[in-house]
């Protein structure tokens, strides 16, 4: 088996274990609430507005009976998790929708934002770090370190405010939200087929490049906000590792053999630095997703975070909060897998030394 495949398999095998641990912890917290609240996790959808208190009480009692909500924790947890696996994530009263469908409907928006940010920050972060390391203590290095320092010190929401003020309100180049109103009608019309859900790609597939352009115009600010922070962190780590690698014997040997400096940097040293550098991004996959959600809210980008935001209105809505938490963990695990895959493709031999 190739190392890339083996690595992917171990990653995939680790997913259910992580999910079990997380859901068990979540449900343990839920156990703090009374049984009737836990029963709301199973309430049917589309209750008639004329439903009486007694009827609701009866439904709750039925749910308590059916899902053994008065039994000890392991039994309840087993019932709940098997329900979850079957796609029954509960009905959210504040969203007026099934939690799973509410989340899945908004997933493409979140996915588009995340994918473009990763595509921007990983190559640029690696290149920035390498250049800074190769020109250590010279102008390019100082410039990089200064920019990276500013980028990590500026909270994303403040950067977002500045961007909106300059590029939306005053210059009108870019815009918040996901599509402009006119393009929104095109996207929701019958002729526009949703192939992937990603508007930039669907626009091209439907031969409507104007839709793609419009989507890009709306992606520019959130992607920049997200990418710059992670670019800076990845760049700093890459720089530090590259400087360590430059001191090692194989680099010195390559230099002694008269290999041109740029070839040593990009062919030999970078190859050894990629893995540890990307590992740091892998560990911060959860931070990346938090960033994605925060940026979505600030730019009114209708992504999955809206499910969380709308459910937080001082009215109990357990299914939405649970669904959002589990979904986030799933996405982080997928992100980690994705970053791992990139790492494995860029440097297939890293696994053997790990």
């Amino acid at each position: 088996m190739s190392p890339v495949l083996r690595r992917l398999l171990t990653r995939i095998l680790a997913v259910p274990i992580t999910l079990l641990v997380i859901t068990a912890v979540l449900y343990a917290f839920v156990m703090l609430t009374p049984a009737e609240t836990r029963a709301t996790l199973y309430m049917p959808r589309n209750l008639s507005p004329r439903v009486t208190e007694e009827q609701i009480q009866k439904l709750l009692d039925q749910a308590i009976e059916r899902y053994h909500l008065n039994d000890p924790y392991p039994v309840q947890y087993a019932y709940w998790i098997s329900n979850l696996v079957q796609g029954n994530w509960g009905y959210s009263a504040t969203l007026q929708e099934d939690v799973l469908s509410a989340i899945l409907r908004r997933t493409p928006a979140t996915a588009e934002l995340t994918i473009y940010s990763i595509l921007v920050f990983i190559p640029l972060g690696l290149v920035g770090g390498v250049i800074a390391a190769a020109r250590q203590n010279r102008l390019a290095d100082h410039g990089f370190r200064f920019t990276a320092f500013i980028a990590t010190s500026l909270p994303p929401f403040i950067l977002a405010l500045v961007l909106i003020s300059i590029f939306y309100v005053n210059l009108r180049w870019f815009a918040p939200e996901r599509v402009s109103t006119a393009m929104g009608f095109v996207v929701s019309s019958d002729e526009f087929r949703q192939y992937t859900g990603l508007l930039t790609i669907d626009g091209l597939l439907n031969r409507r490049p104007d839709v793609s352009l419009d989507a890009l115009r709306h992606l520019a600010m959130p992607v920049f906000t997200l990418a710059i922070f992670h670019w800076a962190t990845l760049g700093r780590v890459t720089r530090a590792i590259m400087i360590e690698e430059f001191k090692k014997e194989y680099t010195v040997a390559a230099r002694a053999r008269g290999i041109p400096e740029h070839k040593i940097t990009w062919r030999h040293t970078l190859r050894n630095a990629i893995s540890p550098a990307l590992t740091s991004s892998l560990l911060s996959a959860a931070a990346l997703l938090t960033g994605v959600f925060v940026v979505e809210i600030i730019f009114s980008f209708n992504g999955v975070s809206m499910v969380a935001l709308r459910s937080m209105q001082f009215v109990p809505d357990a299914p939405a909060a649970m669904g959002f938490a589990i979904y986030s963990v799933l996405i982080v695990l997928i992100l980690m897998g994705l970053l791992d895959l990139i790492q494995a493709i860029l440097n297939p031999h890293a696994q053997e030394t790990d």
């Binding site: 839920v30 703090l32 010190s153 403040i158 909106i164 809505d317 938490a325």
Partner: protein, 319 residues
């Protein structure tokens, strides 16, 4: 002593110390710098009519202008320093404590137990903070709602009208006082501490002085608390220094997007948001945007610089 000399030789460390110390000064002198309104004490002071929704430029009563609703920016800025320190120090401290305890104890007992604990740590690493904030917030709401607490004026940034039933159990009264954002931050930030401390302790465990302590008959608790912890703690100090600033920025972020947390600096920006994004540029109503932004950014930079400086001094690898 050599460490101290190294720390002093870098101008960045001085800048970091200067920034943090000036924040300390402002926090300590808050009642002198901006006395509270005797009729309505608290970190939010209204000067003028509360129904006036136009921010006014600096004036003698409000040296840094006002927000919509005539909230004095200067007053919130000064008193926000106190709440920033309270939040940052307590969250970073508690997070470090949890992480260090888990990391060191699990490494000390080692083998199978350590594998399991580290697996759980890794699982926690895949849980985004925002999901934790939403979940804990919702859980607290549910517990309070079930006890009969009702909140009107549902604005997460400002305390609404709360209807609290008589005879509320003590645990729920406590729950009302606790900030869900704070709990979520602590529960979801201890993992880096645990991981680093785990590696350090595993290395330390095999050294001679620990073996000697064990041979002398020291108990588990004594070895962990007297011998392992003081010697393994330095990486945690570095992380915690950076976290003080980081947590305050994160809290402000959550306040800004309307997910609770009561960062005063974040509230300043959230309340003035409509005026920050105004035609004519971000600096038209500069007093709505600049003071809170500068306070947040400088607070973060100060702690980051101190963290970097400590890292250089304490981390043996870069020495």
């Amino acid at each position: 002593m050599r460490a101290l000399r190294r720390f002093r030789s870098q101008w960045q460390n001085w800048l970091g110390l200067l920034l943090v110390l000036s924040f300390v000064l402002v926090a300590a002198a808050a009642p002198l710098l901006s006395p509270e309104d005797p009729d309505n004490p608290g970190p939010v002071k209204v000067v003028g009519r509360a129904t006036d929704y136009r921010p006014h430029p600096p004036s003698p009563e409000a040296p840094l202008g006002t927000l919509p609703g005539q909230v004095s920016v200067y007053h919130s800025l000064v008193w926000g320093t106190r709440s920033a320190f309270r939040f940052g120090l307590s969250v970073a401290g508690l997070t470090a404590l949890v992480g260090v305890l888990i990391g060191v104890t699990s490494a000390y007992f080692g083998s199978r137990f350590n594998d399991i604990v580290m697996r759980i740590t890794d699982a926690f690493l895949s849980f985004p903070v925002i999901a934790g904030v939403v979940f804990i917030q919702q859980l607290a709401n549910i517990l309070l709602y079930d006890a009969g607490v009702r909140v009107f004026v549902p604005n997460p940034n400002r305390p609404g009208l709360v209807d609290i039933p008589q005879n509320l159990p003590l645990s729920l009264v406590l729950l009302q006082q606790i900030d869900p954002v704070m709990i979520a931050f602590i529960l979801l930030s201890w993992m880096p501490y645990a991981r680093i401390l785990n590696t350090v302790t595993q290395r330390l465990k095999r050294t001679e002085f620990i073996q000697a302590a064990r041979a002398l008959g020291a108990g588990h608790a004594r070895i962990i608390f007297r011998h392992l912890m003081p010697n393994a703690i330095t990486p945690a100090v570095v992380l915690a220094a950076r976290d003080v600033g980081g947590m305050v920025l994160l809290q402000a972020t959550f306040t800004f997007v309307g997910m609770g947390g009561d960062s005063l600096w974040g509230t300043l920006l959230a309340d003035g948001r409509g005026w920050i994004i105004s035609p004519g540029g971000i600096l038209t109503y500069w007093w709505v945007f600049l003071p809170a932004t500068l306070a947040l950014v400088l607070f973060g930079i100060g702690w980051n610089l101190i963290g970097d400086g400590l890292n250089e001094v304490l981390n043996p690898r870069t020495r």
